[in-house]
Symmetry: C2
Subunit: 426 residues, 2 copies
């Protein structure tokens, strides 16, 4: 856009955001106070719907269902019924001839865990020294409020764009993305997308994919007093853990993309859960390990699966026990598709420029260490996606989750200006 | 006893046992069919009481309780209420002037576990090719029936002894021995004891003690996608497992007693259970290990505890992580006191002689790889104890537990003759 007009718009948006600091903070507070763990999203979505009506967008609300969804190859969820768990989309219709933009955020939050570990009640939304505390503050209701503020500013300042802006408040991101998949199946696609997941204001053009696996290690039971007559599945599991760590090393040595240069382990294999044996004085005959395998944007989920499976099959070279008692791997539960947008993509360009304009410095451009719905938007929805948001990555899924309110408004400003640039001023 | 009289008695007892093969087998069958897992012992004890009345002994039946028991330093049980779980004692009163003998067996059995893994129903008592199958057949209702047969033979053959024989059918051995402790507190002591736990007809003058422990290993939580920001408690637990294996090695290198010469690990430290983490894509911040530490008859429980605790405290030399996040150990649940009888003890002598007489070969004399109530009888009841019984050690606590019926009768014969020698013929 022309330099003068741009400056004017920027200062109008900036001023509008300043004036709306209190109402924006209150909106985030209300959203955090509405516990929206899986199957409890309705209350928080109600607040989003109210906000969209106030902004004056065309609102689409539906409970996802049907075979097309649950039998889709990319469908992942522990449930197949989503009654009372609506998705919400609000469209700011363009005047025509411009590029469309999806602004996607998930409304679901992970469980708060042990309340004792929280300094403030996890659904308090308490503000202390510029930080708003609570489950979901950073992942990612803070980012969602940035989107709503950006849209609200554009509307109230009567800024008409050529292309459509499609705001999405989806369920089920934390369980593998069936909410975003449902928006795609409902027909929502665009020329590009931004997801304000907590990136600490860094720009993530690539998102790591991931999938969950479960590994069964066998032993042979015996009485603990004659443990030499048995084979400990715990001791065998140690070998498996060490061997999987070697695979992680091997896979990560292949990653040469400079976007990962500051990341110690670009695509980690995390072993998150172990369980085995059932009696202190028996030799355990079974250990179960559960983990998450990172998938690089340069490989398919299937390739990563195959590499893990053939690696596990080679365990018999480590210990002949595994030849007769093969370790079994199964893939279960959640799965996030990796995604990537071209570094030279016009939306990258616009976002970086506006970031520099507002923040007065060059943004950090990195690859995300976790999956987002951006993988689905890219691979299934054919919508190139950037992840960029105000939240604090380190606080996501943790006790005492918080977000710095300042960042919520900064992100709103950058996203509003980027939307103008991308969709085009009428 | 004189040679001729001895031969006569032996042949009388042998013939009596031959004649009572069917009724002895039926008695064992009935006992196995009566599921006597913890808190369900009443039915099986009823069968024992009936048998003792038939034999014609003075019977003592009581439900253990009271502060003296539950506050006793050697009391171990997950419960403090024992209503409907009676102990049973039957006394064959001597004519006076002889040594007394306790014949002790526990009536409780461990849970049958997964029924699917049993070829025959675990409470069937089915006999196939001379083996009687079912939970408790070998550990240790078969041994109990050997005792009842020995007593029955002595009574029906009208063999009067100088010393008392005190038969005990106790609860709670599998949970640490509160039943036998209760018999001691009730005043039952003797000059020596035999416990027919499953030794495969070997003679165990020493019994390994054992205690249960729980170890907590800490990590630091993080998202699995940035697992390098956390510390995996699973990986730290591996170090702990390896380090405990080293302690086991060190402790066993000290054991020079020739009784253990054929035992690969005389006093094992068994890690039976592991549990940690709660989400596949989180770095686990806690792992719990549960195990059983073998205690040698040459050390006290306290000495063994201290050695383990100071060993665990040295983990910080292995990894500085443990200096700031010390591994915590707690002692919980069951505990079996080690026990030993002098190898030159007169009861050892008598038992070995009678074994040779009946079996025509020298018995194997070994140290037991597990604890029994013999530790309590020895340490609290001041009653030196030998463990010797007909069951199959390897089948105890396992699916498809069985006992060879032939051994039940052989053990009965050896024990009856040993009782005569020890208590003295009137």
């Amino acid at each position: 856009m022309e330099d003068n007009r741009q400056k004017l718009l920027q200062s109008q948006i900036h001023d509008w955001l300043l004036k709306n600091k209190d109402s924006g903070t209150r909106l985030l507070q209300k959203l955090v106070q509405a516990d929206s763990t899986q199957a409890n999203e309705k209350g928080a979505q109600g607040i989003v719907i109210e906000a969209l009506h106030e902004i004056g967008l065309r609102v689409d609300i539906w409970e996802q269902d049907g075979d097309e969804l649950v039998q889709h190859p990319y469908f992942v969820s522990p449930r197949t019924e989503f009654k009372e768990s609506p998705n919400v989309v609000g469209v700011k219709k363009g005047t025509g001839g411009g590029r469309s933009l999806i602004l996607n955020g998930h409304i679901d939050v992970v469980p708060a865990g042990d309340f004792e570990q929280w300094e403030h009640h996890p659904f308090s939304g308490k503000v202390v020294e510029g930080k708003l505390y609570g489950r979901g503050a950073t992942d990612m209701k803070g980012g969602n409020v940035s989107l709503l503020l950006a849209l609200s500013a554009l509307q109230q300042l009567d800024i008409q764009l050529k292309g459509d802006i499609i705001f999405q408040s989806v369920i089920e991101e934390e369980s593998g993305g069936s909410g975003t998949l449902a928006t795609i199946l409902r027909g929502y696609k665009a020329d590009a997308a931004i997801i304000p997941e907590p990136t600490n204001m860094r720009i993530f053009p690539k998102q790591q994919g991931s999938m969950w696996f479960r590994i069964h290690v066998k032993g042979r039971a015996a009485h603990g007093g004659t443990r030499y007559e048995g084979v400990s599945a715990i001791e065998k599991a140690l070998l498996v853990v060490e061997y999987i760590n070697k695979l992680e090393k091997k896979r990560n040595e292949r990653i040469t993309d400079p976007l990962y240069s500051k990341v110690p382990i670009p695509i980690p294999i995390n072993l998150g859960k172990i369980e085995g044996g059932n009696w202190p004085s028996s030799v355990p005959d079974h250990v179960k390990l559960e983990g998450r395998m990172g998938v690089s944007p340069e490989e398919t989920m299937e390739e990563a699966k195959l590499e893990m499976e053939s690696w596990i099959a080679k365990l018999q070279e480590v210990d002949p026990w595994f030849a007769e008692h093969p370790v079994v791997i199964e893939w279960f539960g959640a799965r996030w598709v990796p995604g990537a947008i071209n570094l030279e993509h016009e939306l990258m360009n616009k976002l970086i420029t506006n970031y520099q304009q507002i923040q007065g410095e060059t943004p950090i451009v990195e690859a995300s260490p976790w999956g987002t719905d951006g993988g689905l938007l890219t691979k299934v929805g054919e919508t190139p996606t950037i992840v960029f948001g105000p939240g604090v990555t380190e606080k996501a899924h943790h006790p005492n989750e918080y977000i710095e309110l300042e960042k919520v408004f900064e992100a709103a400003e950058i996203i509003a200006l980027t939307a103008i640039d991308w969709c085009g001023l009428h």
